[in-house]
């Protein structure tokens, strides 16, 4: 009998102590953040284990813009991903790290990442949360130990409150840093407010030149077709203006950077890089993974006449760019006015919200 009473008391104690309500501790609640999907965009497959919350996004934004993440507290993520340049590096070909080291690939734009499956030009990161932490420890970027960043953040009172608001307690961990940065970057959208989006919505008209550029953009490069086409849409089609694939677009016959091949180890992947979105492309010069083209005119001229048909693993989608047309000439064979029309159309994809929306801006 005595043992039975003791057992019941023990069970009751366990039950009481495991009940947060008993001790006055309420369950952690965050404010859900609903991503406003622009009209015409496909539905994103958001990470189920990291639901967007206002608290998580605000913490992620603080981390994104805080130079404390770097070795000498001189650089933040935002240093190389400026909203004024479509979240790229201020027109730089390559970014410079904390100790003056120069990178080897152009800073990628950060928008509409909710629709992406792999990150970096070579796709080496399968999730945004993992991608977010890599530049911190990369020796040619922020060059800092992530665990040291954790220590630094724990000493900052403002982060204690921010982590508690986002995750229920003030514990700082690399995983939580990644999750918060993921939330902030998932919230960065471009779409719905560009001239092109207004044209699609029927509230704006394109100029004749822009309209021609739109037709060329979506036209097929086919010598049998009565109308010319620039064949852009195969890789940059749809509302997101990218197919998110990894492709070799024929920049070089001899590869100096093997891209995806360096990640997978497969020869068949040599020379493949992520197809970037063309939304906000006017903001994101220079272009290509190595920033070799300073202007959109140069990019279009490359596609018009410069695609290397002997480039290893040249994507079959590039077939319209290398075939012989009009006798001995190769490539798209677009006239100057047609090339200018393409540039005019691409400029309609500019969405100034990316540099004006306060959610995206530096909070410090």
């Amino acid at each position: 009998m005595k043992w039975r009473i003791l057992f019941l008391i023990g069970v009751s104690c366990v039950a009481f102590t495991s009940c947060n309500e008993f001790w006055g501790k309420k369950p952690h609640v965050t404010t859900p953040y609903v991503l406003q999907i622009p009209n015409g965009f496909p539905q994103p497959d958001l990470p189920a284990d990291n639901p967007l919350s206002v608290e998580g996004i605000l913490l992620g934004r603080q981390l994104f813009y805080d130079p404390i993440l770097s070795l000498d507290s001189s650089q933040s993520c935002g240093s190389c991903h400026s909203s004024a340049f479509g979240f790229t590096d201020n027109g730089q070909v390559y970014s410079t790290g904390v100790d003056g080291s120069v990178g080897d690939r152009n800073s990628m734009p950060l928008h509409n990442l909710a629709w992406h499956h792999h990150f970096f030009w070579d796709g080496r990161s399968p999730s945004l949360r993992e991608q977010a932490l890599e530049p911190i420890s990369n020796p040619i970027e922020m060059k800092e130990d992530v665990l040291h960043v954790v220590e630094k953040l724990q000493r900052q009172p403002r982060y204690q409150g921010a982590f508690e608001a986002a995750f229920g307690d003030d514990e700082v961990t690399p995983d939580r840093m990644g999750l918060a940065l993921e939330q902030f970057m998932l919230a960065i959208l471009s779409g719905g407010e560009s001239k092109f989006d207004r044209f699609v919505a029927g509230t704006e008209t394109l100029t004749a030149e822009e309209q021609l550029g739109f037709q060329l953009f979506n036209g097929e490069s086919n010598p049998n077709s009565p109308t010319p086409g620039a064949d852009c849409f195969h890789c940059h089609g749809g509302a997101l203006f990218t197919n998110h694939k990894f492709m070799n677009n024929g920049l070089d016959s001899n590869l100096t950077d093997i891209g995806l091949g360096g990640v997978t180890g497969a020869t068949a992947d040599h020379g493949k890089f992520k197809v970037p979105s063309l939304r906000n492309v006017a903001y994101t010069a220079p272009y290509m993974h190595d920033g070799r083209f300073q202007t959109l005119e140069q990019v279009i001229e490359f596609y018009n006449s410069g695609v290397m048909d002997q480039s290893p693993n040249l994507d079959p989608s590039m077939i319209g760019f290398i075939q012989t047309q009009s006798g001995s000439q190769q490539g798209l064979n677009l006239s100057l006015s047609q090339r200018q029309a393409l540039v005019a159309f691409l400029n309609t994809l500019t969405d100034t919200r990316i540099e004006t929306d306060t959610l995206y801006q530096n909070p410090f």
Partner: protein, 246 residues
Amino acid sequence: MKKFVFSLAAALLVLTACDPDKKPEIVRLDVRIHPTFGSNADVVFNSQQLVMGLDTVKFTRADMIFSEFALITEQGARVDLRNEYAHISLPDKSTLSIPAVITPGQYAGFAFSIGLDSATNHGDPSIWSGPHPLNPNVNNLHWGWTGGYIFAAMEGYYQEGGAEKPWLYHIALMENKMDVVVMAPLDLTDHKTLTLNMDLEKFFKAVHDLSPVEDGDFSHSTFDNGLAHKLSENLAQSFSFESLVP
């Protein structure tokens, strides 16, 4: 006495619940597409050179949208499995599950379409949920602003004059929608996996003998002298029964 009646009832309940011969009221069917090439039992995408007559080809992409699944009864009737879609991307995404209600029984064949009905094909692609096979972000087969889906995107390289050149055939438009019927006895009294052989050589040879060198190395289904339509007729005849296992 009461105890006895209660025990008897309980025993009967247990016995009926444990009937080993009781068949499920519905079954699930998984369908796997196994790519081969003529006598090659497997196809290694991206690297394997495949010889067909005078042509040597390599496959890098075989993406398709499947819909309009149906079972063919032994009486020849068609049992439609409605509102099911699949995105097949060989070799990685080769299996689809059909969670629709399938009445257990003996069937004589399996049918599906490569492509979509007109309403779905030209409908708003943004309605599909994140992981849905018709979400353009999942399948990369939507034509974007020009509307409609590519039903099958087949790509690769071929050899000509000692050089490797790309080939690309994107089959789209309603007139190129493909209906596939594979006849074979199908014992679907329980959850099974049906493996269909897809002979990629037949994509070039089944009905029309086609060659990238002779007949053209690309088509987007327009201004192609009927090449995409011939390829669609070939593709529809490329599937055959391979196995049905629990």
